[in-house]
Structure formats: structure tokens, C-alpha cells
Amino acid sequence: MLAGMTTNVVFGLLRLAIIAAALKAAGGAIADYDIAAINTYVWIGQGLLGFVLLWGNNELAERVRSGDVVVDLYRPWHLQGALLAQDVGRGGFAFLTRLAPPMAFGMLLFPFQFPENPARWPLFLLSATIALVISFGVRFLVELSAFWLLDNRGLYGFWNVSSGLLCGLTVPIAFFPEWARDALWASPFPALLQAPIDVFLGHGSVAKLLLYQVFWAAVILGIGHVALQRAVRKVVVQGG
């Protein structure tokens, strides 16, 4: 765990240095971000990364490939619901071990932009939790693709390399040119990281951000549910 934390902090420092240099060159602020906001953005991002678990372990896909998924399917539960419950439980632990430490690190060592309104703290937690649900939904879809692809490592790889930029981990989405910004906000990706960070920083309307997240959570879980139903029909169990 200590090793993971070190890596997390090192990458946070690298990202921070580069964006901070850009801010300096731009005269102190870009879009809605000054140096305190950028520090806050980077350290919340580093924390959320582990909390929402942007990059999963592709375990379900491996179980599809090996056939072990049959055991998961004949249990008296709804597979998607059960795995979601597991993931929310993981999130509870990750809150303490992955989200809180980088945020505390940022608060203690760097200028930090605390929310003016204390109500933002619980709203941020709510937003982060919805982000976790969406992240689960996306990972579930990627893993479920193994029912059709058998080897989904290509798609899994695509998600792993693309998600950082699309979700607003590497640079704030507000830094993008307008067309790219609009395109990204029309997609579910910013709901995974940028939206909770915006709730915390007070960028944009909280109600709108939360609605946007709830909408995508419902859509992605819905697609996952339908995809699972279809996938189950393809399963052939041979032998006992």
C-alpha cells in the first residue's frame, strides 16, 4: 500500500509541476483555475483515481474467458447488482486508504482551495460516490465485452490509456478548446472525475453536475443490465 501511495504522490507532483508552469506562463490563472485551485484539482484527482477505480483488474473478463463466470451466473443474485455492491464496499475502504491520503497531503503541503460553503463537503462525497457507480458501470461494460470478444484485452487497454485524458485526470477539461470541451461534457467521461472535482471547487452549478452524473449512472447501468441479459443467452455450459 505504501508503494502505491508513493507512486500516486510522485505522479501527482509531476502533473502539478507541469500545470503550475503553464499557469505561471499564463500569468497566474487559466480558465477558472489559479494555483490553489490547481493544487486542489490535482490532489483530489489523485485520490479519486483509486476511489472510483478508473483502471480495474479485468477479473470478470478473465472469468468469462476461463468459463468460471458460470459459477457467478448460477448464484441466486443479479450479477451486476452483486458486483456493484462489492465495488461500493471496496470504495468505503478506498475512501480511507486511497482518497483521503492524497487530499490530506495536498491540504498540508500546498495552498488548497477549501469550499466556501461547508455543504460542499457532503455534496462532494455524494458526487464522488456517483462517480464510483459510473466507473463501475463502465468497467463492467468493458469486462462484459469478453462474452463477445473472448479476448477483451484490446478494449481494456483502450480504456486504460484513454480514460485519464477523457475523464479530466491529466489536464482539467476547462483547459481544452471549446469544441473539445463541449464534446467531452456531452459524453459520460467527465462524470467519473472532473464532475466531483468541480463540485468541490464550486465550478459550475452543483445541481446540474449531480443531475448530469445521475443521468449517466442510470444510462450506463441500464446498458450494463441489458448487455448482461444478452450475454447470458450466449452462455453454453458443457458438462457437469
Binding site: A3, T7, L14, I18, I19, L165, P177
Partner: protein, 265 residues
């Protein structure tokens, strides 16, 4: 004998990867994309500012391309070291020790990841763009430097990989520590090092000799003064630094392997 075995081993690995063409193509494209996303980050930042640490967009792209190409090749050979914890935990490192060949070359040849060529290709593309768009007074020496830089960078990154992964002989699950240095130094070296804070710079630029992968050679090519105050000839020393790094890596690896204990089963 060894010289006949390695080409055969590598050849077998390459053929096995090309056997699944669709899978290979998808992996290849992911690698191209991965490199492009880093490029997009630089372009997005430069859509907001004109200079980063006093360097223009094309100058930063040159550093990014040197770093990307060197890292891609290093990853091709040394990236396999990321599997070292598995070898150690399961005891299959014993097998490597039994064979009459060096342990390090055996691991390096164990899984040449051909898809990394995707990363290298896109980095070379950006390098060509950057070299034709930055002001360089070309001399024969500078042509040599341009060719030597990615090669020296490859050796530096590979040495870093070897040293960082050697920690796994003591801390079996030390891979994430190692990744902070290996993948971290790729991110680090893609930008001018004067943007980083002093402690970070000391560790990642000089203890881990990341500054010699792209930053100093680029300064020498561009004929620019180092904002950090080192003299101009430093930009020409990357091959020496690479040789030194390789020697250190070799010694550390030997020392580390001596600390290996089998799992006993």
C-alpha cells in the same frame, strides 16, 4: 553458444505475437493512442500559453519525442522486468539461474513486447515534425547528437528499469515503487526540467539521470542556455551518462541477484 540462442528466442517470441494478428493490431493501436494522448496534453497546455518554462511548443515537442522514442525502445527490452515479482514469488527465478546464460538477458528476451513499436512509431513521427520546426544550426556533430540521443536515452531508461526493479529482490511487491521511477521518469523527461520543483528535479533529473534523456541534448541542439546554469557541453555527455548508468545497473543487478532466495518448494 549464447549468441545463437538469443536471436532464436527473440524470433520465437516475435512470431508468437504476430500469430494473433487482430489482437496485435488492437494492442498496437492502443500504444499509438497512449503516445498521442500525451501529445494532446502538450497541445492543450500550449493552446493556453505560448511557452512552458521558457520553451516554445515545438521545443517541448522535441523533448517529448526524444523521451517517447527512448522510452518505447527501453520498454520493448526492459519492460519485461515488471514481471520480476512473479518470477521471485513463484520461485521460477530458480529456472533462470539454472541455465548457463545471464539472468538479465534471459528476462529481457522473455517477452519482447512488439506492440511497443506503436509507441516508438508515433514518437518518431513527432520527432521528425519537431526537428523540422525548431531552429537548429545543423552541423555534422549535431546530426550525430540527434541520432545518439534516443539511443543513449534507451540505455538510461533501461538501466533505470533494472535498478528500480532490483528492489523486488528485497520487497517482493515493490513493483509500484519501481513504476514511480520508470513510468514516472518518462512523464518527467517529456518536459523541460526547469518547470519542476528543486527536490523533484534533483531526484528525477540527476539521481535518476532523466535530464540526460531529452532535456540537455535538446538544449545543445537548439544552442540554448540552460536556465539552471549548467554549461553547454553538458548536452553532449548523454552517451557517457548512459554508459555509466549501464555499469551501475549491471553492478546493482549482480548485487541484487545474490540476495535472491528460492521459495523452497
Amino acid at each position: 553458444m549464447a549468441e545463437f540462442i538469443y536471436p532464436k528466442l527473440i524470433g520465437a517470441k516475435l512470431r508468437s505475437q504476430l500469430a494473433y494478428r487482430a489482437s496485435f493490431a488492437v494492442d498496437f493501436v492502443s500504444q499509438v493512442l497512449a503516445q498521442c494522448y500525451e501529445l494532446i496534453v502538450i497541445l492543450v497546455l500550449f493552446s493556453q500559453v505560448n511557452a512552458l518554462g521558457g520553451f516554445t511548443r515545438d521545443e517541448v515537442l522535441l523533448m517529448y519525442a526524444f523521451a517517447g522514442a527512448a522510452f518505447g525502445v527501453a520498454d520493448l527490452f526492459a519492460g519485461q522486468l515488471d514481471n520480476l515479482p512473479t518470477y521471485i514469488r513463484t520461485g521460477s527465478f530458480d529456472v533462470l539461474l539454472m541455465r548457463p546464460l545471464g539472468t538479465l538477458p534471459q528476462i529481457m528476451c522473455s517477452d519482447i513486447r512488439l506492440r511497443r513499436i506503436g509507441r516508438i512509431t508515433s514518437a518518431l513521427g513527432v520527432m521528425i515534425y519537431a526537428l523540422t520546426h525548431v531552429p537548429i544550426d545543423w552541423t555534422p556533430a549535431k546530426v550525430l547528437l540527434t541520432i545518439a540521443t534516443p539511443l543513449a536515452g534507451t540505455v538510461i531508461y533501461s538501466s533505470v528499469w533494472v535498478v528500480a526493479c532490483s528492489i523486488c529482490f528485497w520487497i517482493v511487491e515493490g513493483r509500484e515503487f519501481a513504476n514511480a521511477v520508470t513510468y514516472g521518469s518518462n512523464s518527467f523527461t517529456s518536459y523541460p526540467i526547469n518547470v519542476y520543483s528543486r527536490p523533484l528535479r534533483w531526484v528525477m533529473a540527476f539521481v535518476v539521470p532523466g535530464a540526460f534523456v531529452a532535456y540537455y541534448p535538446s538544449l545543445a541542439l537548439l544552442g540554448k542556455q540552460d536556465p539552471l546554469g549548467l554549461p553547454g557541453w553538458v548536452g553532449w555527455t548523454s552517451p557517457l551518462v548512459a554508459a555509466l548508468a549501464a555499469v551501475v545497473a549491471g553492478l546493482v543487478w549482480r548485487f541484487a541477484v545474490r540476495h535472491y532466495r528460492g521459495t523452497g518448494s
